[in-house]
Structure formats: structure tokens, C-alpha cells
């Protein structure tokens, strides 16, 4: 579970004392995913065309989201689904709690969902006395550990098998050898009990097909199918940006998602759920509810740039390729979503007061934007949000530290005024003499020590202008 942060997310503080084990575990896993992704992408000569189609489809949908949502609600209701609208997380949680109470629910089987992490639904349900169990293996593990997901697709990516074995021994009271197969068997046996006992299933959805009101759920473990088939009651929390106009568009997005996320042509299970069971002979829940969640998204829709954030299909490939994420892992980003997409989504959902550090948690290297299957302009968004932090905008006041603002203004004057710039280029080589040691400046006072603590600085050696004069004279 990942509760919503209410105090500023401290990326620097978190990354100052990082255990060296974390980058190793994360780099191994993300590296494997990314290699597989590259192999699948290489098989498709039309990959770039597909990305372009995905981008256009997502943008079109978002530009007409009001109409598509109305149609989606109509299709859902026609399929026998009860539709609820929630403006924010609190409303969505209240709707789910009400449904659970009305049905005298005791135990809930949960399918992995980023939307429910976003609104901290598990916390709300547990506080109300419901027993809720995450049934995706990774989610099951981090729930036992009392943590939120550290990766969009592989939530327990930062944990080693030894740590998981120890966790199982502590929390489940079983003997657990550090062997992935045996650990999976232990979880599987536990989860089987959960599936059979649960009187309610809660899930999210990867997509919601407008024309038929179909929920689409992409999984690899089969837990999703157990959860959405066995209990009599199923509630899906679906963010409003998940809609896809039709099945043709869905086919495009599924191709992009499976390849980008896990390097598969298609995930092991792709579930299509259109309404509850219609006759007694069928499987599936007797009652199906869909909670359509806004939670700040309609605000993001208002501007053409921020709208593009919502194109994201949560494949996690921007995390797998991000050299910053691979060093720091998911928790550095402070909330349920991490990596480059977290660095742009969190400040938009929680505001720059809480997430001012995140837009700067990138070298702007552009690896993320290059792989994004739906072309979310991550670099433009990072810069836009840096600007929101530094300068504010129509609705947000600037929150940047006075020191950084001072440096920015001072450097703009010093670097932007030719005589001052040239004077500096002449003076600094003299001023640096006391700290210079040969070809290097090994250490500098604060705040410049933030460079030299990691590598020495180069001495200023401006001499081109003099050289140029001589060079021209000698011609």
C-alpha cells in the first residue's frame, strides 16, 4: 500500500543513503525486461508506425474524453454494470466501502491495480475492518512487507529471493527456502484459500473499451481471472483516462503494452469482462461495479501539454531504461508511481509543494521519451514542471528554494552580460589559484562541493579569445 504523501517528497534525502544492493537488484531485473523488449521490438519493422498510431489514438481519445466517457457509461450499463463516478480518491474509496458494507463483505481478493494504489484504497478498507489480500505475487510480497510498489509492472523488483524468503518465514510462519519456485508455491497455496474464501474482488483495468463497455485486464499470473470469476461481487476502479474507443484501437494498444512492459507479444492472460454473469450457468460475479475515477485528471486535460501525460498506458518501459531509476529504485519518488512517468505525474496530481524535487530527478537524457510506446513527451513535461516549480503559473505559486532562484538570476546576469562574462573568465583563473592542484580542483566549498564530492572540478582556462586574435593577425 502506498499512502498519499502529505509532506514534501525528499528525493535527495532518500538517495543520499541508498543501500548498494538496491541498484544491483533493480538493474538485473530491469535489464532483463529491457533486453526482451528490444528483441520483440526488433521483430516489428513497423514499430515506429505502431507507436505513432498509439500516440494518435490516445491523444484523440483524451481530446474527446467527455463524449467517450458518456458512451462508456452507457455501454457499461447496457452490459449490466453499475457505474459510479468519483471526483477524487476519497469519493472512490467511500463508494467501494459502501458496496462492501451493503454486501456484508468480510474478505476481499485484490487484483494488482495502480489506480487503487493511487487512492490508497487498501488503507481505507483495512481501517474499516475489511480483510484484503493482494493476489499478484509481487503485490502479495510487498503487502506482507507493508510497502507500496517500487515498479509499475514488477512491484517487488527491489527485493531479492533471500529477503522474500525471510519475509515469508516471518509473516506466514512457514519454512521458506530462498528458491523462486518454492516461494511461488507457498504464495500459491495461500492465495488459493483467498480466492475460494473471498466474497468480493477489487481490481483496476488496463483499458475500458467504449463500444462494448468491456474491461480489459492484462496479467501474467492468472490471479486476475480467479479474482474476477470466483467471488459474487466485483468492483473495478478505473481511471477516466483508461478508455479506448473500440476494439481495433485496443488491438494497437495491446501490441504496444505487452512488448513494452515485459517483452511479450501478448501477456499470458488478457481478460475481457463485459458485465456480470447473465444466466446462472455462466461464470463470473453476479454484480459488477465500475468506479470511474477522475482524481485530478480533468484538470490535466485542460492544457495540451499536461494532457499528454494521460496517454501513459503504464508499461513501465521508461523505468526500465531510466539511468536514474536504475540507481535509486521506486521509493525515492515517494509515491505509488516512480521513474520518469512518476516524476511528471506526481507533481501534477499532488502539486509542486509536495513534489517539487521530482521534476529535477532526471538528467533529461531522453532515454524514456525514446522508448515510450505512446510518445509521452517526458522531457517537455519535465521542463514544464520545473518551470512550474521555479516560476509558478496561473494556478501555482513558485516553490523553488530562494538559493536556487538566486543562483539562476545571478548566473543569468553574470553569463548574459558580455563585459561581466569576460571579466569573470579573466578573474576566476586568478581566484582559483588557492584551490587549484595541478590540472584539477579537488574540492570546493559549499554549495560547489556538491560537484567535488563526487569528482574533481576542472580549472577555468579561458584563452580562446587571445588565441583567436593572434591567429587572425598571423593569417
Amino acid at each position: 500500500m502506498s499512502d498519499t504523501p502529505t509532506t514534501p517528497i525528499e528525493f535527495r534525502r532518500y538517495t543520499q543513503n541508498l543501500s548498494p544492493a538496491i541498484p544491483i537488484a533493480i538493474q538485473q531485473a530491469t535489464g532483463q525486461f529491457f533486453e526482451k523488449r528490444n528483441a520483440r521490438v526488433a521483430e516489428l519493422p513497423e514499430w515506429e508506425l505502431l507507436r505513432d498510431a498509439g500516440h494518435r489514438l490516445r491523444l484523440h481519445t483524451l481530446e474527446h474524453l467527455d463524449a467517450y466517457l458518456e458512451q462508456a457509461a452507457t455501454s457499461l450499463m447496457a452490459a449490466g454494470v453499475q457505474v459510479h463516478w468519483a471526483i477524487n480518491g476519497a469519493e472512490a474509496n467511500a463508494v467501494v466501502l459502501d458496496i462492501a458494507r451493503q454486501h456484508n463483505v468480510k474478505t476481499i481478493a485484490k487484483v494488482k491495480s495502480m489506480a487503487t494504489e493511487e487512492i490508497a484504497l487498501n488503507t481505507a478498507l483495512q481501517a474499516a475492518g475489511f480483510q484484503i489480500t493482494e493476489t499478484d505475487l509481487g503485490e502479495f510480497i510487498i503487502q506482507l512487507a507493508g510497502l507500496g510498489p517500487s515498479h509499475i509492472v514488477v512491484p517487488a523488483v527491489h527485493l531479492k529471493k533471500e529477503e522474500i524468503a525471510q519475509l515469508f518465514e516471518e509473516k506466514l510462519g512457514v519454512e521458506a527456502p530462498p528458491d523462486p519456485e518454492q516461494l511461488t508455491a507457498i504464495a500459491r497455496a495461500r492465495l488459493r484459500e483467498v480466492f475460494l474464501a473471498a466474497d468480493m474482488c477489487i481490481s483496476g483495468a488496463n483499458f475500458l473499451v467504449v463500444e462494448t463497455g468491456t474491461l480489459v485486464m492484462v496479467t501474467n499470473e492468472g490471479n486476475g481471472r480467479m479474482c474476477t470469476t470466483l467471488p459474487d461481487l466485483h468492483v473495478a476502479v478505473v481511471a477516466i483516462d483508461k478508455v479506448v474507443p473500440d476494439w481495433e484501437g485496443l488491438a494497437t494498444l495491446l501490441k504496444l503494452l505487452a512488448r513494452s512492459a515485459t517483452g511479450q507479444k501478448l501477456s499470458t492472460y488478457t481478460n475481457f469482462i463485459t458485465g456480470p454473469r447473465k444466466t446462472e450457468g455462466e461464470h463470473g460475479p453476479r454484480e459488477l461495479h465500475v468506479v470511474l475515477l477522475d482524481n485530478g485528471r480533468s484538470r490535466m486535460l485542460a492544457s495540451p501539454l499536461t494532457r499528454e501525460t494521460l496517454k501513459c498506458i503504464r508499461c513501465g518501459s521508461c523505468l526500465n531504461v531510466c539511468p536514474v531509476y536504475k540507481q535509486v529504485g521506486g521509493y525515492a519518488y515517494g509515491w505509488f508511481i516512480s521513474g520518469p512517468i512518476g516524476a511528471v505525474l506526481t507533481p501534477q496530481l499532488l502539486g509542486t509543494k509536495i513534489a517539487a524535487e521530482l521534476p529535477y530527478a532526471s538528467t533529461l537524457c531522453g532515454a524514456c521519451a525514446e522508448v515510450c510506446p505512446v510518445k509521452v513527451p517526458l522531457l517537455d513535461l519535465l521542463r514544464h514542471l520545473r518551470r512550474r516549480v521555479a516560476e509558478g503559473d496561473a494556478t501555482t505559486t513558485p516553490v523553488v528554494s530562494p538559493v536556487l532562484r538566486g543562483v539562476a538570476r545571478g548566473s543569468a546576469i553574470a553569463l548574459g552580460t558580455p563585459w561581466l562574462y569576460r571579466l569573470g573568465a579573466r578573474l576566476i583563473p586568478l581566484l582559483q589559484v588557492p584551490v587549484r592542484r595541478g590540472n584539477w580542483i579537488p574540492s570546493l566549498p559549499a554549495p560547489l562541493n556538491r560537484w567535488t564530492m563526487m569528482r574533481p572540478f576542472m580549472p577555468f582556462r579561458a584563452r580562446f579569445r587571445r588565441w583567436w586574435k593572434h591567429h587572425k593577425k598571423n593569417e
Partner: protein, 242 residues
């Protein structure tokens, strides 16, 4: 043919040999460089940190400096050229400044881009008898889309032995303001890069961007490595044993 040199503030203050090499190499290719002396910084540090008002005033100064001549503007830095290509976003559409920004951006080129894409030159007659590996800088590679240009130029250098760097296209951890806001992460990324460079067994690591060069040079020095960091342009200008 005349070109205007846009030497960049990092180039001017830290890599004078590279700028001298750039000048002489252009002359060797029959091009006449000129140097607009009012130039300072392009405003990239402010723009990438979110201070757009400051970046805008620096962009204005830059545009005044380089609009006196119609000659193409050539720079040894991908990120500074990319900054110039962002200039149009800084001014309202339809304004005179917007039009000027578009016009200037269209004739501002990174050095390898100018050689390979504009002049169609890949062999500049260089001789560099060393084992070299190459770090692909993010702003050249992804910022300007120059994936092969530097490597094609290196391939034509006489007696140069090219060793492909592991994770050649992964960021070195510089990232401008990032390196001082999150020094621990920046340092860890640099260590990764330096480890691969050392493992390559090269004598030189070639880099086409001053910021990365500064970062990587510092990282190699800290690691006590004898591998020499060098700007791509210096390799292309080399004619002897160097």
C-alpha cells in the same frame, strides 16, 4: 564559405584546445570561421532549470549576437545547439523574435551534424593511431538525433582502433543542474560509466560534448585511470601521433 563560431561557455572556459582545433580543422576544410565576440552563454542552464524568464533574456542577447551575419552557426556542443532550437518556444508565435528564433535555429548546427549532414564530409584527413572508445552524449544522440555521425567520422580516421563502449548510449550522470541537486545519484551513474570505459581497454575515451567530457574526465581522474578523455573535435583535428 563563412561560418560563425558559437564556442559555448563551457567550451570557452574549460576546453580551449578543442576550440583551437575546431578553428584550424574548419580552415583545413576550406571554410572561413568568424567569431562574434559579444557571445556568452545560450541560457541552457536557466532554461533546463525552469527559469524561463532568465533564459528568454539570454536568448535575446544570443540572437542579437548571431543575427548580424547570414552565415551558418557552428558549435562543438549538442546541448547548446538543442537549446537554440528551443528558442522559438520562448517567444509568442507571430512575434518578430519568434520569426528570428526560427530562422536562426534553422542555420545553427552541431559540429558533426554540420560536417556530415550539411557538407557531406566524413573523412577529414585525420590521423590518430590509438585505441579509442566513444561515449554517445544524450543531446547529440537523442536531442539532435545524431546517432551515427560521430562514429562515421571516427571510422575515417587513419590508424584509429575503435572499441565499442558497453552501454555507450547511457547517460554519464551529468545532467547540468542534476549533478549538483542529486550528487549521490549523479556520482553513481558516473561510476557506472567510468567502470565501462576502464573495462574497454582503450587509451582514449572520445566525447562530443563539453559537459559530459568534464564529468567523465573527473570520474576517470578520481578512479586513478590513465585513460585520457578527449573531445571528438581534437581527434578529428589530429594529424600526427598526438
Amino acid at each position: 564559405m563563412h561560418v560563425q563560431l558559437f564556442i559555448t561557455c563551457l567550451g570557452e572556459n574549460f576546453f580551449p584546445e578543442m576550440l583551437e582545433s575546431m578553428t584550424t580543422l574548419l580552415e583545413r576544410l576550406g571554410i572561413t570561421p568568424c567569431f562574434p565576440s559579444e557571445q556568452t552563454c545560450c541560457g541552457q542552464p536557466q532554461y533546463n532549470s525552469g527559469f524561463e524568464a532568465e533564459a528568454r533574456s539570454m536568448a535575446r542577447r544570443w540572437m542579437r549576437t548571431f543575427s548580424h551575419s547570414d552565415a551558418p552557426i557552428i558549435s562543438p556542443s549538442g546541448s547548446c545547439v538543442e537549446m537554440v532550437r528551443h528558442y522559438p518556444h520562448l517567444f509568442p508565435e507571430g512575434s518578430e523574435e519568434h520569426t528570428l528564433a526560427i530562422e536562426l535555429a534553422a542555420r545553427t548546427f552541431e559540429f558533426t551534424e554540420f560536417l556530415v549532414r550539411q557538407l557531406g564530409v566524413t573523412d577529414v584527413g585525420a590521423h590518430f593511431p590509438h585505441r579509442v572508445t566513444y561515449h554517445a552524449s544524450c543531446h547529440l544522440l537523442r536531442g539532435l538525433g545524431l546517432r551515427d555521425e560521430a562514429k562515421r567520422l571516427l571510422a575515417a580516421v587513419r590508424d584509429l582502433e575503435f572499441i565499442t563502449l558497453t552501454e555507450e548510449e547511457t547517460c554519464c550522470g551529468f545532467g547540468g543542474i542534476f549533478s549538483v541537486l542529486y550528487p549521490e545519484v549523479s556520482g553513481a551513474m558516473l561510476e557506472n560509466k567510468v567502470r565501462h570505459i576502464i573495462a574497454s581497454g582503450a587509451e582514449y575515451v572520445v566525447v562530443g560534448e563539453a559537459g559530459c567530457l568534464m564529468n567523465i574526465a573527473g570520474g576517470l581522474h578520481k578512479a586513478g585511470s590513465a585513460i585520457r578523455p578527449i573531445h571528438l573535435i581534437e581527434v578529428l583535428a589530429a594529424q600526427g601521433g598526438a
